[in-house]
Amino acid sequence: MLTYILRRVLQAIPVFFGTTFLIYFMVFAMPGDPIAGLFGDKTPNPAVADALRAQFNLDQPFIMQYLLYMKDFFTGNLGVTFSGQQVSDVLARAFPVTLKLVLMAVVLEFILSVVIGLISGLRKGKFFDNISLVVALVLSSVPVFVAMFVAQYFVGIKWGLAPVTVGADTTWGAMFLPAAVIALTVYVTGMRLMRGSVIESRQADYVRTAYAKGLTHKRIVPVHIARNSLIPVITNTAASFGALIAGTTVTEGIFNIPGIGQVLYQAITQSEVPTVVTFVTILTVIYVIVNILVDLLYAVLDPRIRYV
């Protein structure tokens, strides 16, 4: 077990360097001079421009820039944004907001997947199953931004049930609406996975044996059917966790949430290399950790899986 975790962590090291290098290179290769961009329409004073270049290491060759960045990264200096803020401060402000939003969305997604998938699977081909399929298809075909505007209009403006935008008030309650909309647009995959594995395990021999033992339907459904169907749903949820953290830009834009999506968007448009790379690196690390945790969770869910 410990060997397994150690191996997985060691495997994460090349992933870490690979992604940071690639991201650094891509941002570097973007067309345009970031310093010139900073001054907008004005032509900068050459001396000021040079000073700025030196400050952000932009006068160094690419590989040196990367190595200097890495050195700073490991000594705890995440750099400064073009506007003079510490990247670590920006991160500390934006990151918890996004994490809160995505966590809420993922929990909602998981609940929707498991509950609706379970009922659909148990009532395969019946009314509930058909309705849930139609609803799921409709929800998953609507583009996210459309769903968000619709939610803002009805829930926020017409019915006044939730704040239309989030702004500075990043409490759980204020972010429930965007999280729910995200969950509703992504739960379909998990729901269908759950439904499929419920249908399969419902017909399993051990379920029949459980009935023969004298157990009731009430006990068999959660203990022998739902429990055995969870693995694919959990994999899917974990994968969507990573994708959602990286993909909240649109949601954060529409609901005006001060999370990493917004920061990242601005940093990319301004070619702020340190900001972009730091954020993406943190995302990568989270992604890797979540995946290791999920793999370890498998062993809890299915004792046949062993780590050696």
Binding site: A204, R208, T209, A212, K213, G214, R219, V223, P303, R304
Partner: protein, 593 residues
């Protein structure tokens, strides 16, 4: 024949003397009365009647066996009694009276009370009938709690351990926390038997409880089951496809065919003087120790004999046997060894000698049977002969060519001469391809002929295995198990091989189909002068196919010789144990020729 209920009062009286009755019941009143039971399955083509007018009784403490081939309705009857049919199945008529209550029309809540508590159930496949994600202890405790045998945690646990111990799991305390995958098949079946008997039910339904197990394990488990049910005066309904086993274990026998009872009565009487033609056929096809080697002659078919012998043929065989001794063997295996390393964690591993220094030779046109329990290494040996697994050391000669040192292209050529037929006719044919495509694939791979000549060869092969040529356009799922196995044989023969490796090729088939396939194999052998390497755990089958036998135990060949020698004069204890374990070995079978 009798669709009417069978009474076996005379049988009961014998057993009554021996048992102390733990269930306060009247031994002369039937425990279960089944009358005109009909069960239908809803399919795309409408409702299919799987069971038609089945009636029989089970008396307290009595052992009744239902025998029949797959699809005969024997398992459906078993599941019907406790109303555990698949979702598309439904009781369409008749009644199942258990102690006077009709279970066919009972409410769900009443059924919950009967299941487990009054009627225990032991399912067929120990591999799939325990939930893989819960510990064995959890699953036993669950049964104990559901049937109200104990309520507080400590008592439940104590009772669960007791249940497992009674079922023959000696170190039950230690094994409670383990998961099903850490148990062997035999151990799992003990757990399932323990669960079935946990609440001390009045009736135990055992649906093919040992068909997935080795013969020796089978014997131990059945002995144990018999002892437990006798001790508690539990009635036992045993579902099996094995006539010998049924006759050995049950006082009363019910023979089912196509959803109906065709014959019922005391076991020995049915075995020795069967009345219904189907029962007669079943008895004639069941291979047993008393059977003879099937000879491949077409004359036999005319007389309608499936497994006859004639003197002229025997004489010819003796001639051949003499000639063989001089001939060079087609297959020769020398000091073959396969070592797997098993991971032990902490970067350590332990060597497992799956095949340990074995040697054998098969002369042309003969059959060598490699016999042993599961885990004895017989399949690994076959895989190495087929070149599907690389030997750790040792040599395999095919027609004098050594496979061990052969290059890829040489191996490719050798494969033409040697073809496999595998155990599972459902798993070994690609469901997405037509039968014609399956059979002709080896021809394509080895670039034999053009498409017209391949077409002709497909026809020829289908005729050889006695299938209609129209089958070529159909798909595996449209064929029965026996037909599929014929297709697998046709595919093996496509390249006109000299050697066919048959890995448990008839184990998954019903006795009647098994007899047909064995006859087909014998015919093909004499017609095409094929050499067979026959891998099996079933000694009764070996009796009818093998010229020579090699018995394997833990990777080693412990005994080998001609079939007659081994069967009449087994030297090692292990072989004797295998022979004794064959169900029905000690019973005198009726002569139905």
């Amino acid at each position: 024949m009798s669709d009417s209920p069978v009474t076996a009062i005379d049988m009961n009286q014998e057993t009554d003397v021996l048992v102390h009755d733990s269930h306060n019941v009247d031994p002369n009143k039937p425990l279960v009365e089944i009358r005109d039971l009909a069960i239908g399955f809803t399919t795309q083509g409408g409702v299919v009647e799987a069971l038609k007018g089945v009636s029989f009784d089970i008396f307290p403490g009595e052992t009744v066996a239902i025998v029949g081939e797959s699809g005969s309705g024997k398992s459906t009857t078993a599941h019907g009694i406790i109303n555990l049919l698949p979702e598309n199945g439904k009781i369409t008529g008749g009644s199942v009276k258990f102690e006077g209550k009709d279970l066919a029309t009972a409410k769900k809540a009443d059924l919950y009370k009967v299941r487990g508590r009054d009627i225990g159930f032991v399912p067929q496949d120990p591999m799939s009938n325990l939930n893989p994600v819960w510990s064995v202890g959890f699953q036993v405790r669950e049964a104990v709690k559901a049937n109200g045998l104990a309520t507080n945690k400590k008592d439940v646990n104590a009772r669960a351990i007791e249940v497992l111990k009674e079922a023959g799991l000696a170190d039950a305390e230690r094994r409670m926390a383990q998961y099903p995958h850490q148990f062997s098949g035999g151990m799992r079946q003990r757990v399932l038997i323990g669960i079935g008997l946990a609440a001390n039910p009045k009736l135990l339904i055992a649906d093919e409880p040992t068909s997935a197990l080795d013969v020796t394990v089978q014997r131990v488990i059945l002995d144990h089951l018999e002892a437990l049910t006798r001790e508690r005066n539990t009635a036992l309904l045993l579902i099996t496809h094995d006539l010998g086993l049924a006759a050995e274990r049950a006082t009363k026998l019910i023979v089912m065919y196509q959803g109906k009872i065709v014959e019922a009565g005391p076991s020995l009487k049915i075995l020795q003087s069967p009345q219904h033609p189907y029962t007669k056929r079943l008895i004639a096809s069941a291979p047993s120790l008393a059977s003879q080697r099937i000879s491949g002659t077409h004359v036999d078919h005319v007389g309608g004999k499936e497994a006859g012998i004639d003197v002229a043929d025997l004489a010819a065989k003796h001639e051949r046997a003499k000639a063989d001794q001089a001939a060079t063997p087609v297959v020769e295996v020398k000091d073959l060894t396969k070592i797997y390393s098993i991971r032990k964690g902490n970067f350590k591993s332990e060597p497992l000698r799956a095949v340990d220094n074995i040697s054998f030779r098969i002369p042309k046109g003969r059959t060598l049977a490699l016999v042993g329990e599961s885990g004895s290494g017989k399949t690994t040996a076959a895989k190495m002969v087929l070149g599907l697994e690389k030997p750790t050391s040792g040599d395999i000669f095919l027609d004098g060519t050594n496979l061990a040192g052969a290059s890829r292209s040489e191996l490719f050529k050798v494969r033409r001469k040697m073809q496999p037929v595998f155990q599972d006719p459902y798993g070994s044919l690609d469901p997405q391809r037509s039968i014609g495509a399956i059979i002709s694939e080896p021809l394509k791979v080895h670039k034999v002929g053009d498409s017209a000549s391949r077409e002709a060869r497909i026809k020829e092969l289908l005729e050889q295995v006695s299938l209609p040529t129209a089958v070529a356009k159909r798909y595996p799922n449209e064929l029965s198990g026996g037909q599929r196995q014929r297709v697998a044989i046709a595919r093996a023969l496509a390249l006109k091989p000299e050697i066919v490796v048959l890995d448990e090729a008839v184990s998954a088939l019903d006795v009647l189909v098994q007899a047909q396939i064995l006859q087909l194999l014998a015919d093909l052998q004499s017609e095409l002068d094929l050499t067979y390497l026959f891998i099996t755990h079933d000694l009764a089958v070996v009796r009818v196919v093998a010229d020579e036998i090699a018995v394997m135990e833990q990777g080693k060949i412990v005994e080998s010789g001609t079939a007659d020698d081994i069967f009449s004069n087994a030297q090692t204890e292990y072989t004797q144990k295998l022979l004794e374990a064959i169900p029905g070995a000690g019973i005198e079978w009726g002569d139905v020729e």
